[in-house]
């Protein structure tokens, strides 16, 4: 198959061709870059929703319920679910798909023509997503999926890679995960547009909700001073769910849709996406530069013991900066 076969296959929604293209993208195969370049004008319609949060909080179960809910609303849904690759063997156990509801519910999400689920190993990248997750999202977008849900590796406190791909970031928490200091630490809690307190039938849900709401109110009063008076701001939401029973899922889906409306209405979407395109371009260029430098320095002369001096020489002599 050549590039054109892939591009046409993806545009007409051929699952097998899409699946193969995703593999090429994941493996950094040269053909992937050409496919992505040619499908790029078909992207941008989908709302990309990132779902991140601590391990075991119920991200995968929430994803399954959200897919079901958006299907009920007539949307087609693509899912990219990232799990960690072993830093030692490169192997991975990708266990997000098994939460996807099958034959035991009204709508079988495994065989639904308008659902595409893909599991990904993080393959050495930190931050909660894989290096190629962004490319996979673009392929699903070009294939015409209305919603794309990206589930990150179970993340703790600083994994904010999801911002590189998502229009809407959802942070999933659950009761009894720590006190108010945990909630106020920097990092993952700063990135959420919507916060989900899952397993909210457990004791401590009200406490967590109170602390979270209070913390978020501090954020918004601060940005009120900095932001311009006219700019519409997004009021961050806290939504309680019990994913296994489907409780709170409608409210969550509503909030996701409202956030996208807000992004479009306020012009934030355009700004965010332009910024992401820039970052992605830099990333692609950096990758090539890194490969080039590594190649040129394969016979690097260790004429000094300290790495700073050697690095300086690389910059001066080899790259001529």
């Amino acid at each position: 198959m050549n590039v054109q076969d892939f591009v046409e296959g993806i545009k007409r929604g051929d699952r097998r061709i899409l699946a193969k293209a995703i593999s090429f993208a994941e493996n950094g195969h040269p053909i992937a870059k050409e496919i992505l370049r040619q499908i790029y004008d078909k992207t941008g319609k989908a709302q990309v929703v990132g779902i991140t949060g601590f391990p075991g909080t119920g991200k995968s179960t929430l994803v399954s319920k959200l897919v079901e809910e958006f299907r009920k609303r007539g949307k087609s849904v693509g899912v990219v679910a990232v799990d960690p690759s072993s830093p030692f063997t490169g192997g991975a156990l990708l266990g997000d798909r098994l939460r996807l509801n099958g034959a035991d519910v009204d709508k079988n999400l495994w065989t639904d023509e308008r659902v595409f689920f893909r599991s990904m190993g993080s393959r050495g990248r930190l931050g909660g997503i894989a290096k190629k997750t962004g490319d996979v999202v673009k392929l699903l977008d070009a294939a015409g999926y209305d919603m794309i849900l990206v589930e990150t590796v179970g993340a703790g406190q600083g994994e904010i890679g999801i911002l590189e791909v998502a229009d809407t970031a959802i942070v999933v928490l659950m009761p009894e995960m720590g006190d108010d200091i945990q909630v106020n630490k920097a990092g993952i809690l700063e990135i959420g547009d919507i916060f989900v307190i899952n397993k909210s039938d457990l004791e401590g849900a009200e406490n967590l909700e109170r602390w979270l709401s209070f913390t978020l109110s501090l954020d918004s009063s601060d940005s009120a001073e900095k932001g311009s008076a006219n700019a519409e701001r997004w009021r961050k939401r806290v939504i309680k769910t019990v994913a296994t029973r489907g409780e709170g899922i409608k409210e969550l889906a509503d909030a996701i849709t409202e956030h996208f409306e807000f992004l479009k209405r306020s012009g934030t979407l355009e700004i965010k996406r332009a910024e992401r395109t820039k970052m992605m371009a830099l990333e692609i260029a950096m990758e090539e530069i890194r490969a080039e430098i590594t190649k040129r320095c394969s016979n690097l002369l260790l004429d000094s013991k300290d790495p700073y001096t050697i690095a300086e020489r690389i910059l001066k002599d080899i790259i001529k900066i």
Binding site: R15, I22, T89, G95, R97, R99, D104, W110, F117
Partner: protein, 138 residues
């Protein structure tokens, strides 16, 4: 070298997945990306996952005795959904009576591993067979 992607599937009413989980774990340690389906999948569901996840290997773990009706159905649906079962390595593991092994192989199964098979043998077989199929399908 591209990663080897494996789908470990459990079909039908079979409720025993300790073996499947242990195999998944060992394959992970061999450097493979392993996707586990969970219990009680239908042949259609597994076939769809084979396509969407673009796996190199389909491993069906089956202890219920229903391998003769179920395994060929998975392969039929894979074809029906636009896939090519010849491109993937199909292995079956579990309590398979000796006389059923030729029947499974006749419908496209590459290997059957019965209880007691050393894990190293399974890993070696998968690596070899995937390399062959990748060569054939270049």
């Amino acid at each position: 070298m591209e990663k080897i992607r494996v789908l470990i599937a459990k079909l039908g009413l079979d409720g025993h997945d300790r073996g499947a989980k242990i195999i998944a774990r060992f394959l992970r340690d061999a450097g493979f990306e392993v996707i586990y389906t969970g219990l009680h999948r239908t042949p259609q569901e597994v076939a769809r996952a084979v396509i969407d996840e673009d796996v190199d290997v389909l491993g069906i773990s089956i202890l219920s005795g229903a391998h003769i009706p179920l395994v060929p159905r998975v392969l039929d649906f894979t074809t029906q959904y636009g896939g090519d079962p010849n491109e993937i390595v199909v292995v079956v593991g579990g309590t398979i009576p000796t006389e059923d092994i030729p029947k499974l192989k006749a419908c496209g199964v590459d290997a059957v591993f019965i209880p007691g098979t050393p894990i190293s043998e399974i890993i070696k077989f998968i690596k070899q067979k995937v390399a062959e199929k990748r060569r054939d399908n270049l």
